[in-house]
């Protein structure tokens, strides 16, 4: 099974990655090789096998609750905002028309 340029382009859109023509070609070659290798899994009989999670012995999900944050931590989080207005995060407009 071989992956096409169009498929790579579609994946790039889904993954929100802009790729150059050259990157698309290279990705096509690389993914073909890797997918060719992992195809071996299709040969394995897994009729009686179920997906399992790691043997973690944890207590599972915790309550979803807000944890108080000290001033220093809060200020450091603000300082990482790519664009900031006061203590607010500035983002591009959500409803502007996409080019694609």
């Amino acid at each position: 099974m071989s992956i096409t340029c169009e498929e790579v382009q579609k994946l790039a859109e889904l993954a929100r990655l802009e790729l150059t023509e050259e990157e698309i070609k290279k990705t096509e070659t690389d993914l073909d090789a890797i997918l060719g290798y992992v195809q071996r899994l299709a040969q394995i009989d897994t009729t009686d096998s179920k997906p399992t999670a790691a043997e973690a012995m944890s207590e599972g999900w915790r309550e979803d609750e807000a944890i108080p944050c000290d001033d220093r931590t809060r200020e450091l989080i603000y300082s990482n905002f790519p664009a900031r207005k006061g203590n607010l995060l500035h983002t591009p407009g959500v409803f502007s028309a996409p080019k694609k």
């Binding site: 990655l17 990705t27 899994l41 997906p51 905002f81 790519p82």
Partner: protein, 477 residues
């Protein structure tokens, strides 16, 4: 007098405790060595010289007052650049997070600081821990301490070199498919990946969350035990940490009654002759210590690399989707939303990261999910069961850590699959969530470069694993 930066953690602890050295002297020697050699080796992205020396003087003051903070008090350590350290830039070796300041400490960082450790710097790594050579860092490749034309392995290559070249007493790395153990083998140090669930990953920049584990990279096995003990334990901030009996070191004088399994599947082609020679000699050492060597079947484990290269990219594509230029990380401005995402990510990520995101996106797409992700999860279960069955007959499993010794820079970057094969012996352990260690077993007769011996144990049986590794290390010195 031996430069203090060459001391092991155990030796440094003893020397600090009996007052023959101070933490300031120890830290100064580490800083001097790092400043002298980092320009050529590129093991550290950043060295916190002033801060480290201040912390060292504080540690000396504490011990003078009789208030030692613990077993790591005054010991300089290096963190891989994906372990958060409050107030410092931590970038995961990526341009995406080039200016990203940690808002809080990772749980492991918090524990180290509480026990008085001195954080000396952050170590270079393959971008987002994706690589086996440290050539994939956005900050340039790290070089092998014995041969600058060669790679140190990866992705914790900077941590490995910092330890091997004596910039630091010890370091932390992270291991998703072999990223602690393979660079440890290449650089001739000890690299230890604990059981999944032993060490909190809170504050570790995630690559593949069902596989990632933090662990020690040290000069000796006993050092690894000390550092592991300092970072282990359940954590409310990481729901995958296990509530189970903690690790307590239990050293052995010999290996009488210990059964060591050699998986038949591992000894085929692809292994360098020099690697085979040294590992075979190590088996003789273990026999002489009284261990029983048993050849065993380990079915399905040769499929672990394929399972890994499906599951890992799937988790990567999900985990790295948060890096979209909105709340933190690189943002390319003044564009509509879709283009802001796509161009920020295109500019922030390197080629290997993009490749794995695309691979994961593919494997999780409608129509492919069952064939790839679900099938890989089912084979993962078969692999887990195969290990459990093997451990009914043996206590540990033995292979080389990597099929080769350190290779030349550029030798494997053109073909990703060749690079991925570096993980063939280490990756099964991550897929099954088990503990494993790489211990130096001499230099290859082919090229004089270090070879690593790889031991794997039952889940949460680190005490036995480290004891066997220590026994070998003592006997082989």
């Amino acid at each position: 007098m031996q430069p203090l930066n060459e001391l092991s953690l155990t030796e440094a602890r003893a020397a600090l405790d009996n007052g023959t050295i101070t933490s300031e002297q120890l830290t100064k020697d580490c800083v001097t060595k790092a400043k002298g050699l980092n320009g050529s080796l590129n093991a550290l992205i950043e060295l916190y010289e002033t801060e480290a020396l201040t912390q060292a003087r504080d540690a000396d003051e504490r011990r003078k007052q009789g208030n030692s903070a613990g077993v790591l008090d005054g010991i300089p350590l290096v963190l891989k650049d994906n372990i958060l350290n409050q107030g410092h830039v931590v970038s995961a070796g990526s341009k995406m997070l080039a200016n990203h300041i940690s808002a809080s400490d990772a749980t492991v960082t918090h524990k180290l600081k509480n026990q008085g450790a001195i954080i000396l710097g952050r170590a270079n790594m393959d971008e987002f821990a994706m690589g086996s050579s440290n050539e994939r860092s956005a900050y340039g490749p790290t070089r092998h301490p014995r041969d600058p034309e060669r790679v140190p392995g990866g992705s914790s290559g900077g941590s490995a070199v910092a330890v091997a070249a004596d910039f630091t007493i010890a370091a932390l790395g992270s291991d998703t498919g072999g990223s602690i153990r393979q660079p440890a083998a290449f650089c001739g140090i000890v690299g230890f990946k604990p059981t999944f669930g032993r060490v909190s990953r809170s504050g570790l920049i995630a690559m593949a969350s069902s596989l990632d584990q933090i662990g020690p990279m040290t000069k000796t096995v006993k050092d690894a035990a000390i550092l592991f003990d300092a970072i282990q334990g359940p954590d409310v901030l990481d729901q995958t940490t296990a509530k189970t009996t903690p690790f307590i070191a239990a050293w052995k004088k010999d290996l009488k009654g210990v059964r060591i399994g050699l998986p038949r599947q591992a000894w085929g082609e692809g292994m360098q002759p020099g690697v085979r020679t040294r590992v075979t000699e190590a088996i003789d050492v273990l026999k002489n210590l009284g261990a029983e060597i048993i050849e065993i079947d380990l079915p399905y484990v040769e499929e672990a690399l394929a399972v890994y290269y499906v599951l890992m990219p799937c988790e990567v594509s999900a985990n790295l989707s948060r890096l979209d230029g909105m709340r933190y990380g690189l943002r390319l401005e003044n564009l509509p939303l879709f283009e802001t995402y796509a161009q920020s990510r295109a500019a922030g990520f390197g080629p290997e990261v993009k490749r794995r995101i695309l691979l994961g996106t593919y494997a999780l797409s409608r129509g492919y999910y069952e064939a790839y992700y679900l099938q890989a999860k089912k084979v993962q279960t078969l692999i887990r069961k195969a290990y459990v069955k093997a451990f009914e007959t043996v206590d540990v499993l033995l292979t080389p850590t990597a099929p080769t010794t350190a290779f030349k820079i550029g030798e494997k970057t053109a073909d990703p699959l060749t690079m991925y094969l570096e993980d063939i012996f280490t990756v099964g352990v991550n897929v099954a969530g088990l503990p494993a260690i790489s211990v130096p077993c001499g230099n290859s007769p082919d090229n004089g470069l270090p070879v690593g011996l790889h031991l794997t144990a039952r889940a949460f049986d680190e005490a036995n694993l480290l004891a066997i590794a220590d026994c070998y290390e003592m006997a082989s010195k």
